[in-house]
């Protein structure tokens, strides 16, 4: 009887060990290897992209501040101000979504595709609004965005 109980206990322990080993193996299989060269390259690229996007974001913030000041001073009308701020809100939402996708990307193609969306949106914002705000302080700030985007392009 005791022997049977011991055998049963041994069987339970063996089964548990086997289950644990199996789950550990499946975890190791599912989780990407962090030293994988492609993952390392993706991470390095992601960090560089984030730095460039951070610079573009700071420049865009400056543009927003100047535009608000000009609107408050009466230089920019309500319609233009509303349209521009709506566009900035949309851009910020799109960029933030793209940044999350870049953060979780583990392979270069998905990283590059997402980055392309960010670049296209920021470039479109600049080409649309740079002529509208020509001869204002917004121009130089938009030029800084172009410079940072050029850096992003060079990373690709």
């Amino acid at each position: 009887m005791i022997n049977r109980r011991i055998s049963l206990a041994a069987l339970v322990i063996l089964a548990s060990t086997f289950t644990l080993a199996l789950s550990a193996t499946s975890c190791a299989t599912l989780r990407p290897n962090p030293t994988d060269p492609e993952i390392q390259q993706t991470r390095k690229l992601a960090v560089q992209i984030f730095k460039a996007v951070e610079i573009a974001g700071s420049a865009l913030e400056t543009v927003q501040t100047i535009e608000i000041q000009m609107h408050d001073a009466g230089t920019i009308d309500d319609v233009t101000h509303g349209t521009f701020q709506t566009r900035l809100l949309m851009t910020a939402k799109l960029v933030r979504t793209a940044l999350v996708q870049i953060q979780t990307a583990t392979r270069l193609p998905e990283l590059k595709n997402t980055l392309q969306v960010v670049i296209e949106n920021l470039t479109d914002l600049q080409t649309t609004y740079a002529p509208k705000f020509a001869n204002t302080a917004i121009g130089p700030a938009l030029a800084i965005i172009t410079a940072s985007l050029t850096v992003v392009m060079s990373i690709l």
Partner: protein
Amino acid sequence: MTAEMIIAAISLATKLVEMFKGRAKFADGTVLTQEHVDAAWRHADAPFERIADRARAELDKLNNPGGTP
């Protein structure tokens, strides 16, 4: 306004230089962890979060000029 722009331009130019230095640093055998990526993501996300908040506030002001609810 001009002084503000010059300061902003210098600050952004400094960041660009830092970025190029960063590229050179990554050329060696540095192993990047997910924490590095997450920290860089937080820095990149911050200005866009502020832009979105400020744009919403400006649009609210336009749609509700008197400030009454």
